[in-house]
Amino acid sequence: MNDAVSIAAAVRAGKVSAAEVTKAALARIAARDHELNCFTAVTTETALADAAQIDQEVAQGNNPGLLAGVPFAVKNLFDIAGLTTLAGAKINAKNPPATQDATAVTKLKQAGAVLVGALNMDEYAYGFVTENFHYGATRNPHDLRRVAGGSSGGSAAAVAAGLVPLTLGSDTNGSIRVPAALCGVFGFKPTYGRLSRAGVALFSSSFDHIGHFARSVQDIATVFDVLQGEDDRDPICTKRPLQSCLPQLNKDISDIRIAIADDYFIKGAEAEALAAVQKVADALNVTEYVTLPEAHRARAAAFIITASEGANLHLDKLRLRPHDFDPATRDRFLAGALIPSSWYLQAQRFRRWYRDRIREVFQNVDVILAPTTPISAPLIGQKTMMLDGEEILIRPHLGLFTQPLSFIGLPVLSVPIQSLNGLPLGVQLIAAPHNEALILRVASVVEDKVMKISHPKVCSEDFSP
């Protein structure tokens, strides 16, 4: 059993108990997490109690759900009843525990999944590396000397390492896709507003999405279908009808127009990142190119809006407890707090203009391919990288190719590709808003045709008890 769907099928069929699966996951976490540092809390007692409940349902002949007995964990900015929501920050450590689960956690539990803990991240989700100043760096399971990416680094590394088959994360400017690429797992950021953010600590309200990590397209589609639905607790959650993706996964894709993003998306990437895109394009027989105009300016506008909204959310804490922030986060937030409103509003106006231009692009193409990151995982502590002969900072530039896409809320899946140097890389499959099903259909073909990612040798390849 190496994915969530196969675990759930085995639990529902009574071939294995949810308790056995949960205990196995807890044992893997106990054995491995001290070197990976994915988890900030492990919810052993409630996990075992929830698993026992699932087993009771099976024994009574009831269907415990699509994700019966599947262990999962969430980035520590999702509320978990009884646990303090950290959002990666020391300042939050003494806050009272959450009184109810985030909507996404509730939905997964209702589908039979078993929550086993909370996962490490960059402070307030402001970063691409998960080198958390307070809670330590999460290490990349493929090479423990390297970063897992961020800000959902714990979420990506836990799946890559085989600790759990399924995790939740959040993505403001690439915080699901970047760590998914660097750790070699699937990371899905659906359309802005498609999934409820109720009970999730925000970073930048007009950019924040939630999404998930898994090892197969079928798992990604299953979880997406489970998480959809309007939510009165989240004012930006869409009231559009549900779009069930799972039944569409094996549909023929010959009617889907696919192209490679050129210009901005092929400059500033290492050769291996472009080779990963080409590998996917070859598998799909894609020869067309498409330009997303002004992507560099979109990234700049995204930077301004993020800095301004993020700082505004934390203004009181910046006034009262500046010394309790990670110094790097504090300095960025303080600078963001000083942005004039005219700059912020111009960035928002540009956002509207850019959205209209990208809508035009999607009149001629359905799915666009682009690298997820410009490089594979850098070393922990590494500050700079060489791109196009220029030495640039790593932390902001890992989001080079993700930021212009979340800027207008496009749905994107990062698919894992094995690079020549042995480290994973990601390729983004991008679609127009609310076209998640198209992405997942294409991803299903990529999964079948393109060389699969090798799981880290030091970690578990499957989730069998």
Partner: protein, 62 residues
Amino acid sequence: MESQSLNVGEYVDRMALLLDLQITDEYRDGVVANFEKIKAIAHLVNSFPLPEDIEIAPVFEP
């Protein structure tokens, strides 16, 4: 704000006063460096000629 002569250090000090933010000597340089970066990035957006009828959306929908 786009003036070449803007003194970012002075701007940071005055705006911090207005917003009641205590920016101590310990991290003032870091804040100034970050705002210098923001200023350069903002120039990229602010210098782009947008049609006058482009408004921000009160509720953003992709």
